[in-house]
């Protein structure tokens, strides 16, 4: 399986502050990857490193088999819709399409025009007069019509209202299905990711907490409820993500590749949101673990 995005010991520092540290990733091709984490966790930094807007302070990153933005051929493989979906305010939609056609060797003009028509946008309208949702759609159109192997979207729906948000995501998913794109998109809302993605990366405090196929993650994370006991007494294959105790009862959220047979536990399944939130709220000492990237291997 070829990797669409591969990072090794990747880190980025701005002056004194690390925006991303010790990031190891191996994202397979053909996936729709959701990058989730709280604001300021380093999501934009990771995506900007992947698009070549930033260069790493430490480690390496490879996208579609090459170092990002190293030449026209590499640029052609990756589409990037940046945060706040910037467009040229003074240029019309037609100008933007023309820019795309002039600057991208693989430009699919018919696709771009068809999308703009379907969205009901006027080609002569200036981008500066579009609504947030329309501007996001224009930026997405530019990204898709470039016909990249990988499309990266940084918080594409953050500024949109719930309706525009859903329309945008639906539209993106249709395009993905149609053009067999790999997609990496970031969001601080798990619900966006849950609806659209089949692979998730959780980034908290500049470190990757967990990354993996969503179905696998859901399959190997369980909530264990039972009489109060010390989490350290669990079998070796069961890793505690979070633990909470009352006087009589202990609730654990564990990751394990094998089934839980201990009859003293009542085992219940977890949704993606529960899992992501558990990793986000993990106690500070666990976050500072020397092996931060807890990766689910397939």
């Amino acid at each position: 399986m070829s990797a669409v995005l591969r990072a090794q010991a990747l880190g980025k520092r701005y002056k004194q502050r690390w925006a991303l540290q010790n990031c190891d990733l191996d994202v397979p091709a053909g996936r729709v990857v959701g990058l989730v984490g709280p604001n300021g966790a380093g999501k934009s930094t990771l995506l900007n490193l992947a698009s070549g807007m930033l260069t790493p302070t430490t480690g390496t990153i490879e996208v579609c088999g090459g170092r990002p933005a190293t030449g026209p051929a590499q640029l052609a493989k990756v589409g990037f819709v940046a945060q706040d979906t910037p467009t040229y305010a003074a240029l019309s939609i037609a100008d933007h399409l023309r820019m795309g056609a002039r600057l991208n060797p693989g430009w699919d003009d018919a696709l771009a025009r068809e999308r703009i028509r379907r969205l009901g946008l006027d080609l002569k309208q200036r981008a500066g007069r579009l609504s947030g949702g329309q501007r996001a759609q224009l930026a997405l159109t530019l990204g898709i019509a470039k016909r990249p192997e990988l499309l990266i979207l940084d918080e594409p729906v953050a500024a949109l209202d719930p309706l525009a948000r859903r329309e945008f995501m639906q539209d993106l998913m249709e395009a993905v299905a149609e053009h067999e794109l790999s997609v990496v998109l970031s969001s601080h809302l798990v619900s966006d990711v849950e609806r659209a993605c089949d692979y998730v990366i959780v980034l908290v405090d500049s470190r990757v907490q967990v990354a993996g196929d969503i179905d696998d993650l859901v399959a190997c994370h369980h909530r264990l409820t039972g009489p109060r006991r010390d989490p350290d007494t669990l079998p070796a294959g069961q890793h505690v993500i979070t633990a909470s105790h009352t006087d009589r009862q202990t609730t654990l959220l564990v990751r394990t590749d094998t089934a839980v047979h201990d009859p003293s536990w009542s085992v219940s399944p977890l949704g993606l949101e529960d899992i992501v939130l558990a990793y986000m709220t993990r106690p500070a000492d666990a976050v500072r673990d020397t092996r931060p990237a807890l990766e689910v291997l397939r």
């Binding site: 933005a69 640029l75 706040d84 040229y88 003074a90 820019m99 002039r102 600057l103």
Partner: protein
């Protein structure tokens, strides 16, 4: 990429080139009569120029001096800083064109347009002013008009404005790249460009071509003489038409450079008010009788083109160096 550059640049370009065209038209209307006047009056033209033509002369000087600064501020500084400010560089640098190529085309076309605009302006103004310049170089009075070599007129004639414009444009781009915000970049561009334009004639241009030297006697009836810094310095105004005096030095009877003797200041001393003209002449005569002379270093009018081309090369070299800096910065520092 050329199309995008043109599309983003065309409004600014149209404004400047329309202004250049308007200026050229105005000059074309009034220029021929000035040329006719020179044909009939020769160097005494300087006393016969109409007051409206005199205004055009000064306006022309100011415009050519201002064009590179305006280009640096309004074309150069916003070129990249506006993209960085609005985030559109994320869009531009993720098309199928590397950011180095993006920069090269923007800089190349912008600098070419800048040089064309400044070159046309300078050509029009130099042509219009040429009767006056020739009259001054031919011995006409210089109290109203500048010799072409004078620092004020030099930067408004010939080919140097093109190089000034190229430099100002790339300077604006570089500062916009570093400062990342349009308005501060524009202001800084103006300040830095003005500082360079003041420094070069003061400290650099005098050495860009070989100077001539002449020694003039200090006497009441010779070349006009003025004093500076409370009679500690003497300035003579030798009658070399069109010359640009770069330094002056008082020599003693043995021909050695010396400060002006204190006896001269004592001689000029009065109880109140300035010395009378008779007193001034007597003191000069006394100084001259002691053997003091004044050595004047100057660029003769014939150095004009040598200085023009050397300075053009200098500014184009600076522009190239700044271009290299921009390329380095956009690849290594904006990441």
């Amino acid at each position: 990429m050329i199309w995008l550059t043109w599309r983003q640049f065309r409004t600014q370009a149209a404004v400047v080139f329309a202004a250049v065209a308007a200026l050229a038209a105005t000059l074309a209307v009034t220029g021929p009569q000035l040329a006719d006047l020179y044909r009939t009056a020769g160097s005494s033209l300087v006393d016969q120029v109409s007051s409206s033509d005199q205004s055009v002369y000064y306006a022309g000087l100011l415009i050519v001096l201002a064009v590179p600064a305006v280009i640096g501020m309004f074309w150069g500084a916003p070129l990249i800083s506006r993209e960085l400010e609005t985030g559109t560089h994320y869009l531009a640098w993720n098309q199928g064109v590397t950011r180095t190529r993006w920069l090269a085309i923007k800089l190349g076309l912008g600098a070419a347009a800048a040089m064309t605009a400044a070159g046309l302006t300078s050509l029009a103004v130099s042509w219009w002013s040429s009767p006056i310049d020739r009259a001054v170089n031919g011995g006409g009075a210089t109290d109203t008009y500048f010799p072409r070599l004078d620092p004020v007129a030099f930067a408004a004639r010939g080919v140097v404005p093109t190089a000034h414009a190229a430099f100002a444009f790339v300077l604006g781009v570089a500062l916009g790249l570093v400062i990342r915000r349009t308005l501060p970049a524009m202001a800084t561009t103006l300040v830095v460009y003005a500082a360079v334009q003041i420094s070069v004639p003061l400290w650099l241009r005098p050495y860009l071509a070989a100077t001539d030297r002449t020694t003039v006697p200090i006497e009441p009836d010779g070349a006009p003489i003025s004093i500076q810094e409370g009679a500690k310095q003497i300035v003579t105004h030798p009658e070399v038409p069109g010359a640009w005096v770069t330094s002056q030095q008082t020599l003693n009877a043995a021909g050695q450079p010396v400060p002006v003797p204190a006896s001269f200041a004592d001689c000029l001393h009065t109880e109140s008010g300035p010395p009378t003209l008779q007193q001034f002449d007597r003191c000069l005569a006394d100084l001259g009788a002691l053997g003091y002379k004044q050595q004047v270093t100057y660029h003769p009018a014939g150095n004009f083109w040598a200085l023009q081309w050397t300075e053009t090369g200098l500014y184009l070299g600076l522009a190239l160096a700044l271009t290299g800096f921009c390329a380095w910065w956009i690849r290594r520092r904006l990441t």
